[in-house]
């Protein structure tokens, strides 16, 4: 038993010295593909010990709305960058608006994400909250959609104004998605 041995000559910097760092992420998109970037950064930031706040506004509000959070969609329409999972093939934009295309693209994207072991959006938010992340809802979006706290995930800490969010993220690095 040598738990009292001297510290290793070389050890990782676990950076308790950079405590105080904060990240604020504004999630304004409700498309399935645009929901993920903010969640992935938030999860990574929390894993680095960074205080993390997410603000859900406009279409991003769907990510925390109970009746909508399980039905985020991905559409190839207007997304010229989208390619099919085979041979870098691009989908002709004329086909993108056809009936059933959004459902098919959503299924494909969900499968690709699940194959990487990445959870669906509601479960991902569970993990972010478990890691200490803070979720905030936008007051104006709630009013526009006629929604109240009872319509949102229980772990949303409040419906707040833009000014409130700016005030509570003083000094934070800010990311708008």
């Amino acid at each position: 038993m040598t738990t009292t041995a001297p510290s290793p000559a070389l050890m990782p910097n676990f950076g308790d010295d950079d405590s105080g760092r904060k990240i604020a992420i504004i999630c304004s998109k409700g498309n399935l593909d645009m929901a993920y970037p903010g969640l992935i950064i938030a999860n990574a930031a929390l894993g680095e010990g960074v205080e993390t706040h997410l603000f859900f506004t406009f279409w991003g509000f769907d990510m925390i709305t109970k009746s909508r959070m399980n039905n985020l969609q991905f559409s190839p329409a207007g997304n010229a960058a989208m390619h099919l999972p085979v041979a870098d093939a691009h989908m002709p934009q004329l086909m993108a608006p056809l009936p059933g295309m959004t459902a098919m693209a959503t299924r494909m994207l969900k499968k690709s994400i699940a194959d990487l072991g990445v959870p669906e959006v509601p479960e991902f938010l569970d993990q972010i909250v478990a890691a200490g992340g803070h979720l905030w809802a936008c007051r104006m979006s709630a009013d526009m959609n006629h929604l109240t706290e009872t319509d949102l995930r229980e772990d949303v800490e409040g419906i707040i104004s833009a000014a409130d969010f700016v005030a509570l993220t003083v000094g934070a690095q800010l990311l708008f998605i």
Binding site: P8, A9, L10, P12, G15, D16, G47, G117, V118, A131
Partner: protein, 104 residues
Amino acid sequence: MPVIELNGHQIHVDDEGFLTDFEEWDEDLAKVLAAAIDIDLTDEHWKIIRFLRADYASQGQTATTRRVQAVGGVPVKKQFELFPKKPGKKMAYVAGLPKPHGCV
């Protein structure tokens, strides 16, 4: 590749200090590594460390916090309690593994 002396053994580490040789780790060494980052190992810590070691042996990469929850059965919240602030990296360090490379 740096070599350091720990617990009377020569240990290979990367430039940050994470162990690079799976076979150079043992449970006594884990206690030394944990003490270096101010963690007293309990049974709950050992459950994670043993999962990480077994998972690395079968998968060839270090499990992320997500995987430690989904496959190892230890909730993320508990991981943050046991290995504060940077659980992914701290768990890997004590388990003598490279830091996790997965994004989630």
